[in-house]
């Protein structure tokens, strides 16, 4: 059983904030393919298309038959721990601060033997499941977990390095005016966040659900308008030093494409919030978060953005909104590289059409705001870099993985 992490004491103002360090960064291109799957929370291994061997670690050629016809495949996660050791000293600066560190070898039921981190509740020898995570450098690492959930399992110190769990952390939800923002604020409070700051723009305009926000016991309503650089700067000045998880729930959505709209006023509103708003948040909160990437139990750990899956390919009926989503996706990719310096994860929650006022004319399936909120919590607790919520988002991803060009044509109706 894992010892539960206690709520951290208030920060000692005389203590220097520890600089964030990263685990080893370089990887072969073959290994990065494993990272791509891990980014979506999946365990993929190479298989040889010539002789059928399962291959680990990643290779450029099959160690059995020397074929270069290798393919990455999702594999079952069950296995057994064969052996373990505990690293007590190391010259690596990142791990030096985190010893003792338990590692072991696991034989997957499908054959290959993997080198993994070991959760504290895994016994040697014994059964386990293996999960691929991204470490703070954005590289896939494997961790052996207990077969079943164990008490306080997420509080294992090795596992907590690989996730962005909200427990004891302070969260900013950027747009409390929307159903998605409200559901996310509730979900983060339920998931153990110590404070949930909830941004509200134009507070002089009343909105549905206002009362439920003030009822969240550890919530604080704060003024925040993503279109207003002054507003973002002022809020960052107040809470930027204690924002551990930033969740951008803002999304300005209107129907229509480029030709079907007259002028750019509505499109500009979409870009102001969806693209430039995200950048204002990143510029004003990002430096503080990167600097606090190793600041104890409640270190800064993740920037989460909820965006439409039409970031991957344009849905022309909502084409201008899709264009803003594509730009937003690109901004997130940039931030992922920039914020990695602090080990801060940038997470994308891709959704199908949300079941909200603006999508009222659309037929099901639509994504309930509560489902988006649960996906945010799940991504944080599992360190998942890209999540796809709802049947449509999953379907778009699957089609995109087969061929983006075909998907583009399909979405034009």
């Amino acid at each position: 059983m894992t010892d539960p992490i206690a709520a951290p004491p208030r920060k000692d103002p005389q203590q220097r904030t520890r600089s964030p360090l990263l685990p080893p960064v370089p990887r072969s291109r073959a290994a990065l393919l494993m990272s791509a799957a891990a980014a979506r929370g999946e365990l993929h291994l190479q298989g040889c298309l010539s002789c059928g061997a399962r291959i680990y670690p990643p290779r450029d050629a099959c160690p059995t038959c020397l074929s270069v016809r290798l393919a990455w495949q999702k594999v079952p996660d069950r296995g057994h721990v064969i052996a373990e050791t505990t690293v007590r000293t190391t010259t690596d600066a990142y791990f030096r601060e985190r010893t003792p560190w338990r590692v072991g070898t696991v034989r997957l039921d499908i054959g290959p033997v993997l080198m993994t981190h070991l959760h504290g509740d895994v016994e040697t020898p014994g059964p386990c499941r293996v999960r691929a995570y991204l470490d703070k450098s954005g590289n896939a690492v494997l961790m052996a977990l207990p077969e079943q959930e164990t008490p306080n399992m997420a509080d294992d110190p090795e596992l907590r390095e690989l996730t962005a769990t909200p427990k004891h952390r302070r969260v900013l939800v950027t747009d409390g005016r929307t159903a998605v923002g409200q559901a996310t604020a509730h979900a983060l409070s339920d998931a153990g966040a110590s404070i949930v700051f909830i941004g509200v723009a134009t507070p002089w305009l009343p909105f549905d659900g206002q009362d439920t926000l003030t009822a969240i016991p550890n919530a604080q309503i704060v003024p925040l308008d993503l279109t207003d650089a002054t507003s973002v700067r002022e809020l960052a000045g107040e809470i930027g030093g204690k924002t551990d998880i930033l969740i951008n729930t803002a999304d300005h959505v209107r129907p229509g494409g480029i030709l079907s709209r007259q002028g750019l006023t509505t499109t500009r509103d979409e870009f102001e919030i969806n693209v430039f708003g995200l950048q204002r948040l990143a510029q004003h909160f990002g430096h503080g978060m990167v600097g606090r990437g190793a600041d104890g139990v409640n270190s800064a750990v993740a920037l989460v953005d909820i965006l439409p899956v039409y970031a991957l390919a344009n849905w022309s009926a909502w084409g201008a909104h899709s264009a803003s989503a594509a730009a937003r996706h690109s901004v997130l990719q940039c931030l992922r590289g920039e914020m990695r310096a602090g080990g801060v994860r940038v997470m994308s929650i891709f959704t199908g059409p949300v079941d909200d006022d603006w999508r009222q004319p659309l037929p099901p399936p639509k994504v309930a705001p509560s489902a988006v909120a649960q996906a945010v919590v799940h991504a944080l607790e599992n360190g998942t870099e890209e999540s796809f919520v709802g049947d449509i988002a999953k379907d778009v991803l699957a089609r995109w993985q087969v061929d983006p060009k075909t998907l583009e044509r399909e979405l034009q109706g």
Binding site: P203, W204, P206, P223, S231
Partner: protein, 259 residues
């Protein structure tokens, strides 16, 4: 001594006081709220270009953006459909003599405090004339409600499920001022020249419809009207010279006699 020399001397000596009727242009100043399926009025926004830093070491400046109808602003006749075909209906072609003119200030702040949906009627205007004399042609008329003191509170717009709530004129009052008093324009402290519930009057938004249909002007989001006398002040309100502009943020000043 010329008239202008006398005026500037009076201003310098304090014999004529300058009252600023303008709010600060800030990002959090509310703008007119329309149903969300319509195009929206953009509030004032400011992005720093440089501030004595790597982006420009010796200078500070900003890029600003906003609707023509953000902050303290001027409405030209072309703003409304009723005035769309009038000559000189946009801010770049306004006759300049209308922009420096005498002003009457109708104080209905007590009535507005008692009823946020207070409607100024013809009878109210006539009662005011009974106290202060007839409004002569070629005047601006400003409706004082002290609403400017509510800026920064939710009560300024008074937005609720059934729309905004703030005082303004009814159609008869505006028609009377335009047709029988020959005013240049009409100004308010609220976010528009019409009442918050003006969409439900007949015609909808009567101040906009009647003023602009008759080639008259509007001023809104004015401040400090409580510092003006009922009569005797001079209004100075030239908008920006935006080609084909329907309105413009502006600095509104009043010259007030006496120390």
């Amino acid at each position: 001594m010329s008239v202008l020399d006398s005026l500037t001397a009076e201003i310098a000596s304090g014999g004529v006081r300058i009252v600023d009727l303008t709010h600060d242009l800030t990002p959090d100043f509310p703008v007119m709220v329309l149903p969300p399926e319509f195009g929206q009025c953009q509030p004032f926004r400011m992005e720093e270009v440089s501030r004595y830093d790597a982006r420009g070491p010796a200078w500070y400046w900003n890029n600003i953006s906003m609707s023509e109808h953000a902050g303290t602003h001027f409405d030209a006749p072309a703003h409304w459909v009723s005035g769309r075909q009038l000559p000189n209906g946009t801010v770049d072609s306004l006759p300049l003599d209308k922009l420096i003119a005498p002003v009457c200030v109708l104080d209905f702040s007590a009535e507005s405090a008692a009823d946020r949906d207070f409607l100024l009627t013809r009878a109210h205007v006539e009662a005011w004339e009974g106290d202060h004399g007839t409004i002569a042609p070629g005047h601006w008329v400003l409706l004082r409600t002290d609403w400017y003191k509510l800026v920064g509170t939710n009560a300024y717009l008074g937005m609720e499920k059934d729309g905004a709530h703030s005082p303004g004129p009814d159609a008869d009052a505006i028609r009377f001022l335009v047709e029988e008093r020959g005013i240049i324009g009409f100004g308010t402290e609220t976010v528009g020249t019409d009442a918050g519930q003006g969409a439900h009057l007949s015609p909808p938004y009567p101040a906009h419809y009647i003023l602009h249909g008759a080639g008259r002007y509007g001023l809104q989001c004015l401040a400090n009207l409580d510092e003006l006398p009922p009569k005797g002040a001079t209004l100075i309100c030239p908008p920006l010279k935006i080609r084909d502009g329907s309105g413009s943020p502006l600095r509104v000043l009043a010259l007030v006699p006496g120390g």
